[in-house]
């Protein structure tokens, strides 16, 4: 089994600890994405798996074998770097063959591998070209070719799409996904882009300040964020988070926001919690727009309507906090300027503890 197991992995630079006890099991053939803001330690974790950074503490196993002290070349991993790390003086074929030549593989095997990889990645017409003569997307393909040619147990990707423009990024994202399906290799992918994480991952690991905030499938994390950080990190636009106090309404607990009462689900943690500070989380796509006179609406102050084509983003404020609603434009574009509030089902609202930011118990939603 070509899985990767991290047990209480710690990284220290002198007295500064940047990774605080990471525990993670990556299954064979799984595509796991490490996501988080800049400086959260995701690249450091990846580089420790590759063997480019020493592990200060903890155990790292690949394919059931502890590899803490094993040289990178003997870990049987391949890495695609952020800037692709292509050798500028070598052509595409030689770049792809570099690892095989270093390992002194037979010449006929190298030639066959170059041919095969060239065909898989659509690089056959470019094999004689130097990296400087290639587009960004082609360079990324060469970098991937160099990784797959060795048939390693584990693929590591360090933000490979960050240097591409938006259109090419979408295209290459799909190519990476297709390649993973085709090769079925265990892959660990680092990105700060939550869209990449959501679209590519079998499971996402959200990191923050060197700690894992949550691990789960993209939809698990989207629907059931473990805390306010994950809720705010995943989703575009991110979840609206409004500080409120718990009150009582006609049919159960409510969140009191600027004198308005927003009905909440009857969660066990909200029983007898009047006055407790909570963070109310509302996904922009879960709120339904309401206009003047519609019953049960929570009033907002609309500031701006951004039309994106089939949908629009309404930028408003609620209780002094920014509040965004994502809505369809079909048949209602002209009425969007008249939006005065929103309605939402209580079970679609996430409630987090006001101090710790942790989600209150009993809010699990199925996909």
């Amino acid at each position: 089994m070509s899985g990767v197991s991290l047990r209480n992995i710690v990284k220290r630079y002198g007295a500064v600890q940047v990774v605080h006890g990471i525990d993670l099991d990556v299954e064979e053939k799984e595509f796991v994405v490490l996501v988080g803001p800049s400086g959260c330690g995701k690249s450091t974790v990846l580089r420790m798996i590759a063997g480019l950074e020493e592990i200060s503490d903890g155990d790292l196993s690949i394919d059931g074998r502890q590899v803490n002290r094993v040289a990178p070349k003997d870990r049987d991993v391949a890495m695609v770097f952020q800037n692709y790390a292509l050798y500028p003086h070598l052509n595409v074929a030689d770049n792809i063959a570099f690892g095989l030549r270093i390992r002194k593989e037979p010449k006929d095997k190298i030639a066959a591998s170059i041919k095969e990889v060239g065909e898989i990645l659509g690089l056959t017409p470019y094999l004689e070209r130097k990296p400087s003569d290639l587009s960004g997307g082609q360079r990324l393909r060469v970098a991937m070719g160099r990784a797959i040619v060795r048939r390693p147990k584990v693929f590591l990707f360090d933000e490979p799409l960050s240097n591409l423009d938006a259109k090419l990024r979408t295209q290459m994202r799909a190519e990476i996904k297709r390649l993973h399906k085709r090769l079925g290799a265990t892959s660990i992918y680092v990105t700060h882009d939550q869209v990449e994480a959501m679209t590519l991952a079998d499971r996402i690991v959200v990191l923050h300040d060197g700690r894992i905030e949550q691990i789960g499938t993209p939809m698990e994390l989207f629907l059931n964020p473990a805390n306010a950080f994950v809720a705010g990190f995943l989703g575009s636009p991110p979840m609206n988070q409004i500080l409120a106090k718990v009150g009582t309404g006609a049919s159960g607990p409510v969140a009191e926001i600027g004198g308005q009462k927003l009905p909440l689900a009857n969660l066990p943690d909200l029983q007898n919690s009047v006055g407790r500070e909570v963070i109310v989380g509302i996904r922009p796509e879960f709120a339904n727009v309401a206009t003047e006179g519609m019953p049960g609406q929570i009033n907002i102050t609309l500031e701006l309507v951004e039309t994106l084509g089939s949908e629009a983003l309404l930028h408003a404020t609620l209780g002094g906090d920014p509040f965004v609603i994502r809505t369809d434009t079909l048949g209602k574009l002209r009425t969007l300027d008249a939006v005065t509030g929103f309605t939402i089902k209580p079970e679609l609202i996430k409630v987090f503890d006001g101090k710790s930011g942790m989600a209150l118990a009993g809010q699990v939603r199925k996909e």
């Binding site: 480019l52 391949a78 890495m79 770097f81 790390a85 070598l90 270093i102």
Partner: protein, 331 residues
Amino acid sequence: MTVDQDRTGVTTEELSALASEALHHTERSRMVRVGDHLKREWQLYVLLLPTIIWLLVFLYKPMYGLQIAFKDYSVFRGVANSPWIGLEHFHTLFGNDQFLRALKNTVLISIYSLMFGFPVPIILALMFNEILNEKFKKFSQTIVYLPHFISSVIIAGIVITAFSPSAGIVNTVMGWFGVDSIYFLTKPEWFRPIFVGTTIWQEAGFQSIVYLAAIAGVSPTLYESAVVDGATRWQMMWKITIPSIMPTIIIMLIIRIGNMLEVSFEMIILLYQPATYQTADVVNTFIYRQGVQGGQYDMAAAAGLFNAVVAFVLVMTANTISKRYSRTSLW
């Protein structure tokens, strides 16, 4: 008058007027851009000024005096009034055994310097790059750079002392092994190795800075990628470092070839003596003796001009070859 018309009905004359106006407009807008740039970045141009003045005064203005290579120059008549004599000085030079000997020595010393002296800074830079202990790296770099900052007179003094037959360290060490003392600096056969070795010792460290800077510019991810692929440090040096700094090596080689005939004049003057003229006298020392000591300024100018023309041809050839085969060139 017949006037051509294209399919849009515009006459050739109108087209040409439009083109001329467009050209004028482009020219004007370029002038405006240059003017704006000068106004905005004037501080940078002020910084450039001393170098330009230096070049004009010391390198361009003296070119006026080059004409004396083709004249029967007299100090009293001046450069302008001395009579033209064509290529007579060049004929004399090429009939002069001393000049031909100096030319041969210059070429040989240059070739030896290039062969042995050019790779040393590259090797030094590669070695410095492999030193992992920062303190030792800085210490060894300082030691190797140091001779560059010592005056040539002192360097020559050190060399003369080191090779002295009575108290020199070289002869002392040779004596330990029962080898008789040799007065190296009076033996023509020893001059070239001593001279080439001395200039390498004096300049190789300092010249290695250029290559160290080029190595510093190589992306660390290239090495990391190679580490993951299983490359050893030796393989990384051959397969990444050297190819990555190859453009710098080629540029430095072109410059070196351009300066090939500019053999270190001071060091030769300081180290040579009549006993070693046979292998030590180079074009520059010949010019010095003829021009400054012998007062034959026109003959010395002819020798100097010949030197410059050969250097020009060499640098042009090297640049063209490099451009064609490695896509790296000075211009």
